[in-house]
């Protein structure tokens, strides 16, 4: 990837991006849906997905919550 490619990717914005506040308000619902049915999660929450791809801090929170829920459910299975 050239520097211009990297810059273009960074500057590109997705009009479906819902922003931090809405993404965080829906995060618990989105995380459970991602675990249960990733395709439906993408379809129903395209704006949340677009945001989590673009926003580092929210993406980090998503990974954290997904990890916590996955760990809990693994323990419940054992």
């Amino acid at each position: 990837m050239t520097g211009w490619d990297a810059l273009d990717r960074f500057l590109d914005v997705d009009p479906e991006d819902v922003g931090c506040e809405k993404a965080m308000a829906l995060l618990h619902i989105y995380v459970e849906l991602v675990r249960a049915d990733p395709e439906t999660a993408t379809e129903r929450y395209a704006g949340v997905e677009a945001h989590l791809r673009a926003c580092g801090p929210c993406g980090e929170d998503f990974e954290g919550l997904l990890s916590a829920v996955s760990a809990e459910q693994r323990q419940n299975v054992v």
């Binding site: 819902v18 931090c20 809405k22 995380v31 954290g64 919550l65």
Partner: protein
């Protein structure tokens, strides 16, 4: 489980209620005992009806009184602390924190999120399991506390403008120095020409100085969403300017330059 239809989601719409767990002004407290909100006597039955058994039990216990409530609060705190510890551990490679500090941060996040959760039980609408909803609070608390910690040991000054660091930020090949110089010059011109003072300040702090968004929000007494919105608009304006000048394609990510 209920969902918002896609058409209800838009970045441009104003949202009145802040995300749960975000209250930078509140000092961290390390306690176990909390005063829970008085349960609403007429909690909507629609919420009750769609709750799974475990979530309903959490709500009943936490909104109740006496020993069952105390036991539920203690159990919830234990779970939140476990999640907080796992989360700070997951992020530790990117933090300048040692073991005891990490554990202290986890304790503070667990205590603060416990207070927030027990004060907002009426906000839980059964759209997820109760514990998933509760874990969101502690994850967000960990984020906020890590952001606050940045300013105790800042690695950069907020207004630092070392544009030569830009290649590192984008992970560019050190061999392509000629390309960088061109890129840096074009980007810097666009930043100076099209951004407002506020947008420029935010852009420089995040992109050039490398200040974390959460830390910047705390420093400016703002919030993550407002900072992101400013950056969103700044990115759009800079891209349009670079496209107008022929550096970037107007419709796709295909690069014309070079």
């Amino acid at each position: 489980m209920s969902y918002l239809p896609r058409e209800e989601l838009s970045f441009q719409e104003p949202v009145a209620a802040p995300a749960p767990g975000r209250d930078p002004a509140r000092a961290p407290v390390r306690i176990l005992a909390v005063r829970c909100a008085t349960p609403a006597p007429d909690r909507p039955t629609s919420t009750d009806e769609k709750l799974d058994r475990e979530s309903a039990e959490w709500l009943r216990s936490l909104a109740g009184a006496g020993a069952p409530k105390e036991a539920a609060v203690a159990r919830l705190h234990e779970l939140l602390l476990k999640v907080a510890r796992a989360e700070v551990n997951r992020r530790r490679s990117r933090l300048r924190l040692a073991g005891p500090e990490l554990d202290d941060l986890a304790h503070q996040a667990a205590a603060d999120s416990l207070m927030a959760i027990t004060g907002k039980l009426d906000d839980f609408r059964g759209e997820s399991r109760f514990t998933t909803w509760a874990y969101k609070f502690v994850i967000l608390e960990v984020s906020t506390k890590i952001g606050r910690h940045f300013w105790r040991h800042p690695t950069v000054a907020m207004g630092a403008e070392d544009w030569e660091r830009l290649p590192d930020r984008f992970g560019l090949d050190p061999a392509g120095k000629a390309e960088w110089q061109d890129l840096i010059a074009a980007l810097r011109r666009a930043v100076d020409d099209v951004l407002s003072d506020h947008q420029r300040r935010i852009f420089v702090a995040i992109v050039i100085a490398g200040v974390p968004v959460e830390s910047l929000a705390l420093e400016l007494a703002s919030n993550r969403n407002a900072i992101y919105k400013t950056m969103f608009d700044a990115r759009r304006k800079i891209r349009a300017e670079l496209a107008a000048k022929g550096y970037l394609d107007t419709r796709t990510a295909t690069v014309r330059h070079g």
